[in-house]
Structure formats: structure tokens, C-alpha cells
Symmetry: C2
């Protein structure tokens, strides 16, 4: 497949055609079996794998990320994710099949036969992210989970990698079509205004987004102010605090801060899970190790001009805040390939200026905050906004300390970590990539992992129907062998 040198914005007429096709496809997808949709997802994964030699160079050209191992690993993650949702569909727990037989003796009064399962929302609009050109873009987690739910997907491409988006979109759409998906199941659109127009279209039933707080909030507001509001799943900003305990400093302080530097500089710090705040006890004695580790880290190119300008501006503001000291700065004079920066501030100065200092700085920098004692640490954590993740680097024998920190970190984040780093988000059944606002606009949901599919499903109850009219998952003979809850009892088929 080939891709044009420049990708034009989608025209009004093209957008109308795409939305109309998605709306036509929605009821057709809704009657396909999960096993059929699983085959489509496998076909899309296979097609992407087959085009790795075309995809990686183009992704590198547009994002400056290294083709290997980074982009190859991300593509592997992307195709794995499509296949994982396929496996989930074949099991069928996502259908939430629940059967309550008629019960004349039901304590609140006679109960009719009532059965419940989950159906797709309808056409979903996905806004792609810039920083993961595969895994959070055209064929990423939102697309995979929405398609798995049985929803047609209209993917608003990120302007940071338009040609890759175009090519990925063609590969996926072609593979889906060949595998039997109806016309209108998947399409890619380009253009900021085009995305907003699509979000306002009454035929769109839900939307998802990965990106900045201002961008995500603006789209969230549009989604909610429609005459018919729709669910908007935005994954926005995150500072991902890390607390290092006195025990961890004492036992393995140098290792902890070295791996911290590795985590916050990974991918030039352009991850929503970058550890942006590190809380170290006063007198930690690790300044030299930190400075050396950051100093030894090679500069990496940033994704694009927008990111580079935003990073420079935010970092410049941060460095000028009272009490903030630059431990290792950027002496490259290259805004697009900056050296990682580490800044530090005392707990007292952080507390005095917390609203300015707790904000995300997207790119290769992090802020070390020194805390005087546990009381100050708890006060500082209480002043943070929610994040995607929160981490403890501590010792197993610091039980009391860890148990005091856990409730606070659990309120602050969707994922809490112990002696690990938040970058590197595995795709699995238990993954949770979300959190209270401003981490996301939908704190009950995740955008990574098996549970991401639930964002695009809604329940429907069937009351009084003979088995012959019921969907297979709700029949007494359970032909698809899906997990069912029958008269209150869970059954694994």
C-alpha cells in the first residue's frame, strides 16, 4: 500500500459519507456474533504485522521515535491488543449475560422472567494521541475495544503522524472488509474542525480521547453540551507521583533513583505515565547519583513542534518558580532534541506554590521534592490532583508507613505501584489506565486492558420473551457457552 506525501483534511462531503456509512453499519454489527468480530480483529492484527516494513519507517519519519525497539515493540503491543480483545469476545463474559427466571415467590412480589445482556452503543468517534503512533492511535486500544464491543469506529487522526494514520487506516479498513465486516465499520478522518463536526453529529453515540487536559476538556464540554449528550471517555493529564521511603533510600537509594531517571527519560518523557514528581526524604544524599544519571542520558528528539514548544514553555515557567533549582539542565540549545532536565524543590516551597508546581510538564523533565517528615509528606500528597498512577518505592518491612500511604495514593490514582515504575503499561485483564479527573473524564473506566470494552457497551433487559426470540447469550441452553448469572448464581457455562 502507498500513502500520499500530504494528507488533506477530510471534506464535509467525505465526513457525511463516513458518518452515514457508520450509522448504517451499526445495526449490522450489532447482530454479528462475538466470534465473528474476533476474526475481524485477528485479521486486522495479521494485516498490520504483514506491513511492518512499511509502517515502521513511516512512523519513525513522522514521530522521530526509534524504529527499534520502540516502534516495533509498540506495534507488537498493538496487534497483541487486537488479539486479546478477540480472545475476550470468544469467552463472552463482556456480554454480562444475566437470567432471572420468573419467580412467583420473589420477596418483593412476583418476578417476571427478565434477562439482561450488553449491546454496542453505536458509532464511536476516537481521537488519536500523538505520543503512541500505534498503540493509542489508529489501531490502538480505543479502536480495538470499540470494535470489539461491536461499534463502528471513526478515527480522528492525530496531526502529528497523518501519513502513518492514513496508511494504518487503509490496512485496517481493508483487512476488516476482507474479513467480512460491513462497509462503514472503520474509517479515518483528518482535521481539527472535522473532528469537532463529527463530535457534534447526532449519529455519533460515544467518543474517546487521549491527550492534553485543555484539549480533552474542550471536547468533553462539546460532547456534554450536545442536544443529546454522549459519553466522552477522555484520558487527559497525569503527573504520576512517586514516594521514596527512608527505608528504600537507605537500602537501595542509588538503584531507585537510577531507575527513576530511566523511567522519566524513557521515550523523551513523552508518556502519560511518566513519573513527574519524586518525593525523597530530606538528607537523602542521592543528589550526585541523580545528577550523574540524568547527565549520562542521551537527548532524544521530541515528537513534533507543538510538543517541543509546549515543553520549553512549561519547563521555563517551572524553573522560574520560587525555590525551584535546576539540578541538571538542558545545554543543547536544541529545542527539538533537548537534554533531560531535573529540577528540585523543598517540600516547604512546593507546598507554598502547589498549584503551579503540581501541573504536568510533558517531555523529558521531572521534579524532585524533598519532604521533612511523614506529616509534611502526607500534606503534600493531599494537595495533588488525581493521576493515572501513584508509586511507592519502599521496603516490605516498612509496613506501617506503606499502610498509611496506600489509602492516600489509592484516592489519587487508578493504578498504584510498589517498587516498580509507571511507564510501560501492560495490556492484560487486570490493567487499569484511568483515574479521577483530571487523569480522565470518566473515573469508572479504563482505556487499556480488557475492561476497556465496557465503555462502549450498554445493558438491555428482555422481559417476558420466549427463548426463541432471545439473543443466544440469554437462552437457557446457552449455545455460545458464555458465563451467565442465573437466578443470582454465577455459572461458568
Amino acid at each position: 500500500m502507498t500513502t500520499p506525501a500530504v494528507v488533506a483534511d477530510t471534506t464535509d462531503a467525505q465526513l457525511e459519507e463516513i458518518i452515514s456509512a457508520a450509522a448504517m453499519a451499526a445495526p449490522l454489527l450489532a447482530i454479528r456474533t462475538p466470534a465473528e468480530i474476533a476474526e475481524w480483529l485477528d485479521a486486522a492484527a495479521d494485516a498490520l504485522d504483514a506491513e511492518v516494513d512499511a509502517l515502521l519507517p513511516l512512523a519513525h519519519e513522522e514521530t522521530h521515535l526509534p524504529a527499534r525497539p520502540r516502534l516495533a515493540g509498540e506495534l507488537l503491543r498493538t496487534t497483541f491488543q487486537l488479539r486479546l480483545f478477540g480472545n475476550l469476545l470468544r469467552e463472552g463474559a463482556h456480554l454480562g449475560a444475566t437470567i432471572d427466571h420468573a419467580d412467583a415467590d420473589w420477596p418483593m412480589g412476583p418476578r417476571p422472567d427478565i434477562r439482561r445482556h450488553h449491546v454496542p452503543f453505536g458509532p464511536v468517534l476516537v481521537f488519536a494521541a500523538s505520543n503512541f503512533p500505534f498503540a493509542f492511535s489508529v489501531a490502538g486500544g480505543d479502536t480495538a475495544s470499540a470494535l470489539a464491543a461491536g461499534c463502528p469506529v471513526i478515527l480522528k487522526a492525530h496531526p502529528g503522524h497523518p501519513r502513518l494514520s492514513d496508511l494504518t487506516g487503509k490496512i485496517v479498513a481493508d483487512a476488516l472488509a476482507k474479513a467480512g465486516a460491513p462497509y462503514g465499520t472503520f474509517a479515518v478522518i483528518h482535521g481539527v474542525e472535522v473532528g469537532v463536526a463529527a463530535l457534534r453529529d447526532p449519529r455519533i453515540a460515544a467518543a474517546s480521547f487521549t491527550g492534553s487536559v485543555p484539549g480533552g476538556r474542550a471536547l468533553f464540554d462539546i460532547a456534554n453540551s450536545r442536544p443529546t449528550p454522549i459519553p466522552f471517555y477522555g484520558e487527559l493529564g497525569s503527573v504520576n507521583p512517586v514516594v521514596v521511603t527512608p527505608g528504600a533510600v537507605r537500602e537501595r537509594g542509588a538503584d531507585v533513583v537510577k531507575s527513576y531517571v530511566g523511567s522519566f527519560t524513557l521515550g523523551a518523557g513523552q508518556f502519560c505515565t511518566k513519573p513527574g514528581l519524586l518525593f525523597l526524604p530530606e538528607g537523602h544524599g542521592l543528589t550526585d547519583v541523580l545528577a550523574e544519571a540524568v547527565g549520562a542520558t542521551k537527548p532524544q528528539p521530541l515528537l513534533n513542534e507543538h510538543i517541543a514548544n509546549g515543553f520549553a514553555a512549561r519547563l521555563s515557567t517551572l524553573e522560574s518558580e520560587p525555590g525551584v533549582e535546576v539540578l541538571v539542565g538542558d545545554d543543547t540549545n536544541d529545542r527539538f532534541v533537548p537534554h533531560p532536565t531535573l529540577v528540585t524543590v523543598s517540600g516547604k516551597d512546593f507546598a507554598a506554590n502547589i498549584e503551579a508546581l503540581r501541573e504536568e510538564c510533558f517531555g523529558p523533565s521531572s521534579l524532585v521534592i524533598t519532604y521533612a517528615d511523614l506529616g509534611e509528606l502526607l500534606d503534600l500528597l493531599a494537595g495533588l490532583e488525581p493521576s493515572l498512577t501513584a508509586t511507592i518505592q519502599g521496603q516490605e518491612d516498612e509496613e506501617d508507613l506503606v499502610n498509611v500511604l496506600l489509602p492516600i495514593l489509592g484516592r489519587l490514582a487508578g493504578r498504584i505501584l510498589f517498587n516498580d515504575w509507571p511507564t510501560g503499561v501492560t495490556v492484560s485483564w487486570a490493567q487499569q489506565h484511568g483515574g479521577p479527573y483530571p487523569a480522565t473524564t470518566a473515573p469508572g473506566t479504563t482505556s487499556v486492558g480488557a475492561a476497556a470494552i465496557t465503555r462502549f457497551l450498554r445493558p438491555v433487559a428482555w422481559q417476558g420473551f420466549p427463548n426463541s426470540f432471545l439473543p443466544p447469550a440469554l437462552r437457557d441452553d446457552n449455545p455460545w457457552k458464555v458465563p451467565q448469572r442465573v437466578d443470582g448464581q454465577l455459572r461458568l457455562s
Copy 2:
């Protein structure tokens, strides 16, 4: 217990005290076990049962609903609902416990040990409804499901039954406290502006509402325009279309329309599940039976002046629309105890004026629409807005017709019924009381049934923690014996 003759609005100082106490209670509730919370719910149910002689007369006085069987049945439903959530907590599936052990061979790259469960949102603000003074009010489904989730509840009382709300609130708060719930777990507030102020408070983590479209939309907009938006679960309006097939008319037409009249006049039509639109085939020959059944129905008092005025105004507008004929009108000259009204219109006139005619008319009236053929019926259904329910009255041998109608009705509603009536919403595992906007503001959720608890839970993942730090539901030895998904496999403890 006693209740004052007049209930004053909550003062600013009282509201601050209540919200502050709820915020203090939230982390305490979050570390209680589901079994403990189940005991609190049982205690609340027992206390309400014990006060039936005080509650029923007061409810009757304020709502004019008959004490028996209606209000007694509703109280039974309410206490049953509290206990059902207790049983759900003791099983533990609501925790969504998921364990992925570390896996060096995970196909996308080595997987850390990661585990996921659900935790309470924090303080929940519940706006009570007018039409179910027990089941959708102070101790109703929203309160029961939010408390079950482990969230403190602040209940904004409906002004239609303030003294009952006050008394119910005291009974519940007292029972919870005696059972060991922390101070701040439950409180009732009064006043429109007070409710809005609470909704804007940053300590409130989620809100729910049952009522009208304009009222619910206004609160939804406030919840979403906060600096920190919160989930808002609004159950708004619903017309609940019913399609009667030619076969059903032929085989049992008189029975169908008699039971329809029973359903739309039940509780003076003041149910969100009232069948507001009945689609009958042209030439149905049931006009006399309909007129006789409606004519024989006794007038019942409406809930309050607000409802009575709204009903009179909406009905007057409806009756003046082109082509609308009054089959049975209200000749009582009593706005508060009106006789049920049945109006009728042809499919052609309905289609020509669909935006005016498809709107809900809350109270004892319904609209019969005659359809010429299947094509016209499908067009009419396609023009409706989503509802809580949609019903088919048909014959089992009309397979093709039912199968054509099902996908359309499934898109229109959260619950579809066959040869049953939508009023009388059972509380069970499979119940779904929700639907796309304007039926609700959160189409992926339900406000009745076991799944209602999920509205107030958010997932948290634990990565890399030794078992000793993990919550019981996520430990390998599963001390609470909750259902777990382990390395992708569901296990029933």
C-alpha cells in the same frame, strides 16, 4: 420518632457540616468490609420495617397515594432492595477482583504482577424523586446502591414529601449509626438552592437524579461544568412505546387494551415506565373496549400541585395538536383528581407532528396511534426518542414481525418487553432501568437492580505489591472467597 410540621431548608452552615462529615467518612467507609456494610443495609431495612406505622400515614398524607397496597408495597420493595444489595456484597462479584500474575512470557513483553478491584467513589449526592416516596427517595435504589458501594450519601429530599423524607432520613441515619457506620455516612438535605450548592461542592464525587428532563438536564450541565466534573446519573423522561401486532389484536385484542388501560392509569399514570404511546393497527375495532375501560377507571389524586399543573398544561397542548382526538376526556373539573384521558391520532398525523406528539405527558393519559402497515410503523418508531422501555404485544407465531421489530426497539430502550407491561419494575439481578438519552444521562448504567452499584465504583490496579499489602479480595488465598479472574480465567472462589 417524630417529625416537624414544616421542614426548613438546610442552612449553609448545616450543609457545610454535612458535606464535611461525608468527606471525613469516605475513607473510613472505603476500608470497611462488604460484609460489614451489608449489616448496615440490613439494619436500615429492619428499622424501616419497624416504623411502618409511622411511615405509611405520613407518606399518604404528603403524596395522596393509597397506604395499601401501594405505599406498603413500595416500602416492601425498598427494604427488599436494601437487603438484596447486602446479599450482593456478601458474594463480592461487585469488587471485580482480577489477578494477573507476573508472566515473563506474556506475548507483548514481560508482564508485572498486576491486580485490579473496585473501590468507592466517595461522597455521593442523590436527588430524590417525587413519585416513589420510598423506592426512589430517601432510602431508595440510589441510596442503597451508593451505600453498598461504600460511598457516604447526601440525599437531597424531594419537596413533594419533605416530612416523610425527614422521618425516613432519621430512621436510616439512626440505624446506620447504631450498626456501626461512621458519622457522616448518611444525611438528608432540603432546598433547591441547597441541592445545587452541594452539587457544586468539590468534595462530592458523583451524583444521581430521578425526575424530569429539564430538571435533570440542568443538574447534569452543572455537574459537567464544574472545574472537576463528576459522573451524573440522571434518569429523566420516558414515553415507553407499546406496539400491538395484528395477531395480538386478532387473538386477544380486548384483553390487551384492557391491561394497557390498567398499566397507564396505575398510580394515576405517575410512573416513568407508564406506557405513553400505544401503536395499534388501523381498523383494530377496539375503540369501544378502550373507551369503556378508561371510562370505568376511577380518578386518583395526583402527587402535588406541581405535577397537577404540569399534567394539565401538557395534556391541553396535546389535545390541541392537529389530528388528535379525545377518546375519553376528563370531566371532573378537578385538576388534582382528574379522570384518566385517552387520546388518539392517526399514524399520518403523528408523523407530521412527531416532535410535539412524542413528548412525555406525566400523569393519567396515554396516546393511541394507528398504523396503516408495517412500513409506516417502522417509520414512526424510528422517529421516537429513546425510552426506559419498549414493548411488543404480539403472538409467538408472528416470528418475522417480532424479529423485525426487536432491533428497532432494542435501540430505543433499556428494557424490552414481550406480552407484559412496563409498569412494575422488579428489583433483581437482571433488571435494567435506563436507556440512551433522554431516558438517562448515562446509557451504560441502570438505576434499579444489582448492577446499579457499578455506578459508584471505580477500578484501581495494584502493581508489584506483596500479598501482605494487598486488599483481601486481591490476595492469592482469597480470604473473602470472592469471584476472581486469575490469569484470564474466571473462578467462583
